[in-house]
Amino acid sequence: MTEKRIRIMVAKPGLDGHDRGARILARAFRDAGYEVIYTGVHQTPEQIAAAAIQEDVDLVGLSCLSGAHGYLFPRVVELLREKGAEDITVIGGGIIPDQDFQKLYDAGIKAIFTPGASLESILEWVGANVKPRD
């Protein structure tokens, strides 16, 4: 039967290999009924953007624990825009200092979740903000 399913990509840009959080999140999305594509670690923004378009996802969740979010996150948004995929929502998480939030929001990151954020709060945000495509 016709049903517009929501697809989510969980991606790890940059050089840190700590993906426990990303995997737990992928699992939580799975359990919430989403189709989740996980890219694995050590991805460039270019790889992530290309994969997101090939997979035609509604949401990209970026996880970065290395401190390079200031470059990596905005770059993913920028690349998606360049490829005409600005409708793909991008959110981020990881070790991100409060004072960086505004810059990331300005760059088009729609939400940021840091250590301590509950899975429920993330799922709730996704449920409220990511709708099936037109």
Partner: protein, 321 residues
């Protein structure tokens, strides 16, 4: 008018258009089916290769390496990687792509993950449709990776010209080799992780199994290719190149012996059968569900007031005139 624009874009290799169409086909959106009607007539050029084997056998890693091998020769590659949907939540983790991400930026490669969404044969219902889209995109080779399969998930033969069955040492005794199902569908066997204990034993069991066959269609005796540790990069790449060459040999054999026509025919029959089932059965099921008839029948079955066979026969009489 819009549709021909879409077809033009897909033919030109536009990733966004192609991936959206595949998604709409997965979601069974009626306009997508209409688009497919136009596309179908332009398909049939690609060599479709199925890769199956148990979970963790190394299918995704092999697909990744095959992509590298084909790209060296200038072929373009489309990949459909299938992973299971949860029977409880409908969610899925599609993780095959992790192994293939180094090709993400190569415009000659298109990788798409699909969830089974309840299909039982090791594939997703949309695989056949997605193959057509990649074909029209101009991909020479289309690799379909099944879910981690066991013995019975053999739908892949209905969608591919060449089937690679990936085995690893240590998965059971020699009775496994003579069982029906997956062991019968291989055009090529790969013994993966062949540096591990038991690889020679597995090889001998496969040879013995093949020796018992009465005949091989088209004279093609499924070759057995050993592939060792992927971290031993040079020899791994050489083995994969050999696999790629064997895949090409198989296609040539299909062409020369006329067997290609048989496989195309099998594929066409399955596609037609599926489309007929969709067109005839789906609307009836939908109507019966929406009218509450279905619940009523289930209730009757549970109370042993009716049997499913009579109900089905009566429904057939009512709906199929």
């Amino acid at each position: 008018m819009e549709e021909s624009e879409q077809l033009k874009k897909i033919k030109a290799g536009d990733v966004r258009t192609a991936s959206r169409l595949i998604r709409n086909l997965e979601d069974e959106i009626p306009e997508a089916k209409n688009a497919l009607k136009r596309i179908f007539l332009h398909t049939g050029k690609a060599h479709v290769v199925g890769i199956t084997g148990s979970p963790g056998a190394g299918k995704s890693t092999l697909v990744d390496a095959l992509i590298t091998s084909y790209r060296k020769k200038g072929d373009t590659v489309g990949v459909l990687a299938v992973d299971p949907t949860s029977p409880f939540t409908g969610g899925a983790i599609l993780g095959d792509r992790i192994r293939m991400q180094k090709h993400a930026e190569d415009s000659g490669v298109f990788v798409r993950s699909l969830a089974t969404r309840g299909a039982l044969g090791g594939l997703s219902k949309a695989v056949g449709d997605a193959v057509h889209v990649l074909d029209v995109m101009g991909k020479n080779l289309i690799l379909i990776e099944t879910v981690g399969a066991g013995q019975q998930e053999v739908d892949i033969i209905n969608h591919s010209h060449t089937v690679i069955v990936v085995l690893v040492p240590g998965m059971g005794d020699d009775i496994q080799a003579i069982k029906a199902g997956m062991m019968e569908i291989a055009d090529i066997f790969v013994i993966n992780k062949a540096d591990r204990d038991g690889a020679n034993k597995l090889y001998n069991e496969l040879v013995a199994m093949l020796n018992m066959a009465h005949e091989f269609p088209g004279g093609w005796r499924p070759p057995i290719i050993k592939i060792g540790n992927c971290f031993d990069a040079v020899s791994f790449a050489q083995s994969v190149d050999k696999l790629a060459a064997t895949v090409a040999d198989h296609y040539r054999c299909l062409e020369e012996t006329g067997l290609l026509g048989d496989r195309m025919k099998r594929k066409a029959m399955v596609e037609l059968g599926e489309s007929l089932r969709d067109a005839i059965l789906s609307p009836i099921l939908k109507e019966m569900t929406q009218s509450g008839e279905m619940d009523l029948f289930v209730e009757k079955l549970l109370k042993k007031e009716a049997d499913p066979y009579t109900i089905a026969e009566e429904a057939a009489r009512r709906y199929l005139k």
